[in-house]
Symmetry: none
Subunit: 418 residues, 2 copies
């Protein structure tokens, strides 16, 4: 089954709001075997909405509409729907009761705009909105299903989860789709494509591959289309295992994992702890580590040593290393890692020192030069990276490279311990 999404709202088209609804809906629909063919964002405008409905119905069997249903916007969308489905608004006392209950809970007095929310097109099936005043509406016409929902993300999600997706699942729609994403780090897209060209060529025809590059690494997405989900899943896993043999050193995780989640799982398994010392990444590695819920089980903390004085006084970097090799050097990176490891009594530590830019570069050490060191039990490993001229990206890329070095060191020590 093919679907289309129409998002209604001027706020999207003036860039005031990022449309996160479409991604959420697309993901959920995919999991039910529904393919989203197109997403269209239109204005709060009668003709524009009407045209979008007509065009979508010619390409898809399911049209999901979000937005245009708030108390101050009621008129247009519901009017257009009545016109499109050749029906009229009728009063639903049970909806008014629901609106009254919700508003009382919020200590808000009901007004005419709220009362009008109980007026709904006669020909629709009403979809209960447990968390808001505007219900969803389900229409069918000429073999196409239309669902209209409010644009507030958690209201749309409640109606989708409680009403729309269960109905779609009952319809036993389509072929199955299985997605699997392989997360890589440390290899650029073009080199990756070259390295895995043969594997890619040998993929079965029903499995598609997509390259999704980002500053944190290239993600590879496999999508398998067919009738039997178990077969698709097995074949996808087989292909992932093959790929794992070709580029083991570049794969750090799968699907929605972050690098710091992967590290967290390893540390929890091994009952070990970690600490961070940052210069050029300025706290960003620590932020990535602490984005993971439950990280206090293995994370002791970090020092951002932006000044050389802090490097010496807090982390115990030797003044002579700073004088002899400079702050951006193998020696200082290693002393920072060992220093924070000792200071915070951690099993593992990672440290960065570099020139994030835009200023501060020299001919010998241009902007983008970064030294990263990781320390484990009786072992310190360091590496120099050469990134580029954008401060923001240098920080992101250094942090991701540092966490990947840490992950590799943890894996090495884990394999030795076994």
């Amino acid at each position: 089954m093919k679907a289309e999404i129409i998002t209604i709202g001027d706020e999207i088209l003036i860039g005031q709001v990022v449309d996160t609804n479409s991604a959420w809906m697309s993901e959920q629909l995919n999991l039910c075997g529904v393919e989203v063919f197109q997403i269209t964002s239109v204005h709060d405008n009668h003709d524009h909405i009407l045209t979008a409905l007509k065009e979508a119905s010619q390409r898809a069997q399911l049209v999901l509409i979000t937005g245009g249903l708030g108390p101050t916007k009621d008129d247009i969308t519901k009017k257009v729907l009545c016109e499109y489905f050749n029906t009229e608004l009728v009063f639903h006392p049970e909806i008014l009761e629901h609106v009254k209950t919700l508003l009382t809970q919020r200590n808000v007095a009901i007004n005419q705009l709220n009362r009008d929310q109980a007026l709904l097109p006669a020909s629709c099936t009403i979809l209960h909105n447990p968390v808001g005043t505007a219900p969803g509406m389900w229409f069918e016409k000429d073999g196409v299903i239309y669902v209209s929902m409010p644009g507030v993300p958690f209201e749309m999600e409640a109606i989708m989860s409680g009403e729309v997706l269960p109905r779609l699942k009952k319809m036993n729609l389509a072929e199955s789709i299985v997605h699997k994403t392989i997360l890589t780090q440390g290899i650029p897209e073009s080199m990756l494509a070259e390295t895995i060209a043969k594997w890619e060529e040998n993929l079965p025809e029903y499995i598609k591959l997509a390259y999704l590059p980002s500053p944190t690494g290239v993600r590879l997405r496999l999508s398998a289309y067919g009738t039997d989900e178990a077969t698709l899943r097995a074949e996808t896993e087989k292909q992932v295992t093959e790929l794992q043999k070709i580029i083991p050193e570049y794969i750090y995780g799968y699907d929605n994992q972050s690098m710091s989640e992967v590290i967290g799982q390893l540390l929890i398994e091994m009952q070990q702890t970690m600490a961070v010392a940052e210069s050029c990444t300025g706290g960003y590695i620590s932020h990535l580590v602490t984005e993971v819920p439950g990280c206090s089980a293995y994370y002791n903390g970090s020092v951002t040593a932006y000044s050389n004085e802090v490097k010496v006084n807090v982390l115990g970097v030797s003044q002579s290393s700073l004088d002899q090799f400079g702050a951006v050097s193998r020696q200082v990176a290693e002393e920072m890692a060992s220093g924070v490891q000792k200071l915070m009594k951690a099993d593992f530590a990672v440290a960065t020192t570099g020139i994030a830019g835009p200023d501060g570069g020299t001919q010998e050490k241009p902007v983008g030069t970064v030294w990263i060191a990781v320390a484990g039990h009786n072992r310190v490993v360091s590496q120099k990276f050469t990134f580029r001229h954008n401060r923001e990206r240098n920080i992101i890329r250094s942090a991701q490279a540092a966490l990947n070095m840490l992950r590799q060191l943890i894996l090495t020590e884990k394999s030795i311990a076994v």
Copy 2:
């Protein structure tokens, strides 16, 4: 002038990637006097792209296309563009040179996929991509302008800022538009609207006001439309001055300033330094401070004290305060601020300790409870905040509130010093 945006990429239609590009482009286009009529997301598919191009050109005079230009996707989009514009790919040695330079900087060997990026449609004007290998392309046909750009956000933004927007501005599309954004923190949208209702009512008709809420605070954007830019600018500044009188305590900056930039400017003026101690914000405040180029002039560093042991051993928080009041308390926040101030010999310091969630809350201290303290010369100020249940948002909101308290303390000490 009306524009449309077409985003190409299966990753958007399966919900793997949220389309943030469209909102960014829409906002920028609006600022140039260009109205975005529709946004359409389509698959990496020849016919689908072709149809989208044709349909958009019937509704708009400017069609912006993003996505489908990475080294591994080259084929489809460029092929479709050649077909649509009835042209063919030609080799551009200067683009190959640019690709080579970029890849050499990244220590990546060039391969055939990279070489193919120097093949571009003969009829287009090439738009320089300073941060990536895929250039933008500018076409004109039957009175409609088409711009094709890569989908990686920072590459698209670089091409838009460096090439597309300057060209659009030169075309003198609209009457003059003057924008001014006032950045507020610490007051919710509805309360802000109530507080400034009278000021808003008295705005001249040609000045529009938009509320842009975000986790870092509500931005107020004034847009003045007219013929004479100088008049518009003067009137806008007059209105901002009025507003400043009504809500001085909530305004921290203007336009694209970040809170940490504002703080940096103050510290540079006063030749003072700062340090940070973080528990629940986990390094995010330090990251915000070090996003600002040149921050090493006033930033000494930070300690992320995630474990209580680090709070005691590194920051010098007293064990008895931890035992008596708990880690999330006024006492511990204040000792963390004073501790890092002393440790890093800084003039000012800010500290956070709280329960970011999703777990760790108690009846007395639910998830979202955060204590923030700031320390200056002979002065420590602390405050309790109660945010909500989302870890990511709690971190962002705590960091912004902490930096704002720091800003206010610096301003207080500055006024005393004068």
